[in-house]
């Protein structure tokens, strides 16, 4: 009996050490520096002319066509960031401007120049909270993987839920569903020194099925030469939406100028 207990203890201790050793020897990757978008600003990096049209349901395809008809008249519909709403997820990952990726054991952070946006991806093993406040970038839980078993994490999978709207995939009037039940799945892999790839699958009721695209970003090593530029959209945005009408703010004249023909110019009512 004594022998048995001692044997169990040794085995348990050995397993514990083995488990700890595996945890402590895993290394997190260095993905620091600046990452810059490769490809177009369409959600499909090659552009829809090459990759084909977005897989929209008939309802959302009709909505897109109506948006395009109005745009031809000069109405800026179907593009929420035009009024300085955040791009949100998944559109943020088109990365109009460069971004930085900071990796810690508990979280990975994406710091984007566009809209000065921050994504916080929890990698501490947590489960989904009972309640998640909807936010434009959603709530993200990630998990690191070692795909080539060399002891260094090389792939970050992320699931993002609780995303606030309105949102569009890009500026071409491809909008996500009004119910905001979008789920975004991502897999980040560093393909080589210069390339970070993100395989992004969007599940949304505006789509006929999951829509997967691969977006890539090129690397600039961290140094004094790397340029980061502040982006505050409210600083000088001239695109104003009043009800269903769009106007172009003419700050110099103090007027709201029409964007489509036949629309009245709005001027200040001044006291005499």
């Amino acid at each position: 009996m004594r022998f048995t207990l001692r044997y169990i203890f040794i085995v348990f201790a050995a397993l514990s050490v083995s488990s700890c050793t595996q945890e402590t020897t895993m290394t997190y990757p260095d993905w620091s520096g600046q990452w810059t978008r490769i490809g177009s600003l369409n959600w499909e990096p090659e552009g829809y002319a090459v990759a084909g049209e977005p897989p929209l349901t008939p309802e959302y395809q009709a909505k897109r066509e109506e948006f395009q008809r109005l745009r031809d008249l000069g109405v800026l519909v179907g593009d929420p960031p035009a009024t300085c709403l955040p791009p949100g997820m998944p559109r943020l990952m088109t990365m109009s401007f460069p971004f930085e990726m900071l990796v810690t054991p508990a979280s990975a952070y994406i710091l984007a120049d566009w809209d000065s946006a921050v994504r916080r991806i929890y990698t501490d093993g947590r489960d989904w909270p009972a309640y998640m406040l909807p936010e434009f970038n959603g709530y993200s839980i990630g998990q690191w993987h070692d795909e080539n078993n060399d002891g260094i994490y090389d792939m970050l999978s992320v699931e993002t839920r609780s995303i606030k709207g309105p949102r569009s995939f890009d500026s071409s009037a491809v909008v996500l569903h009004d119910n905001n039940e979008t789920i975004v799945l991502e897999e980040f892999r560093r393909l080589d020194d210069n390339t970070l790839e993100n395989t992004i699958t969007t599940i949304d009721d505006a789509l006929t099925g999951p829509w997967t695209v691969k977006r890539s970003y090129s690397h600039t090593p961290p140094s004094d030469e790397v340029i980061w530029v502040e982006y505050v959209c409210a600083e000088n945005n001239r695109h104003i939406k009043l009800g269903d009408e769009w106007y172009f703010l003419n700050s110099e004249e103090g007027t709201l100028d029409p964007t489509r023909q036949g629309q009245p110019r709005l001027i200040q009512e001044l006291d005499n």
């Binding site: 800026l76 035009a82 300085c84 530029v229 172009f248 964007t259």
Partner: protein, 127 residues
């Protein structure tokens, strides 16, 4: 005062370049099919986000001065190309390609800033 002129030509390569620089929003409110070239005097250069603006005084065909609000690329891209808040100054005379608002109001989307002799404007030149 020097008489400024407004004339219309097609300038598609510059338009395509301008489109590729846009990330913040669609350029649907601008008439890409009918770009114009404006020659005028800079009233103000706004090196701001989400877009830079050139406020340009242009004399129209009837001799009246019209002030245009012209939206361009953003500070992130332009700073990397050498543009700063001091690149343009009030009083500078330039030629600029513009996709005007569909409505006909004096606003638009600019690209391809040039000197009056047609040479490219150098944003890094000492002033």
């Amino acid at each position: 005062m020097k008489r400024f002129t407004l004339f219309i030509i097609l300038f598609l390569p510059a338009m395509m370049l301008a489109r590729s620089s846009y990330g913040h929003h669609s350029t649907a409110i601008y008439d890409s099919d009918n770009p114009v070239e404006l020659q005028g005097r800079v009233v103000e250069w706004q090196f701001t986000n989400p877009h830079t603006f050139v406020i340009l005084a242009v004399e129209d065909e009837s001799g009246e001065e019209v002030v245009w609000s012209l939206e361009g690329s953003n500070t992130s891209l332009m700073f990397r190309r050498g543009w700063t808040p001091d690149s343009l100054q009030a009083g500078d005379e330039i030629i600029i390609t513009v996709r005007p608002l569909h409505s006909g109001a004096p606003g638009g989307n600019y690209s391809n800033i040039r000197n009056l002799d047609g040479t490219p404007f150098d944003p890094k030149a000492k002033r």
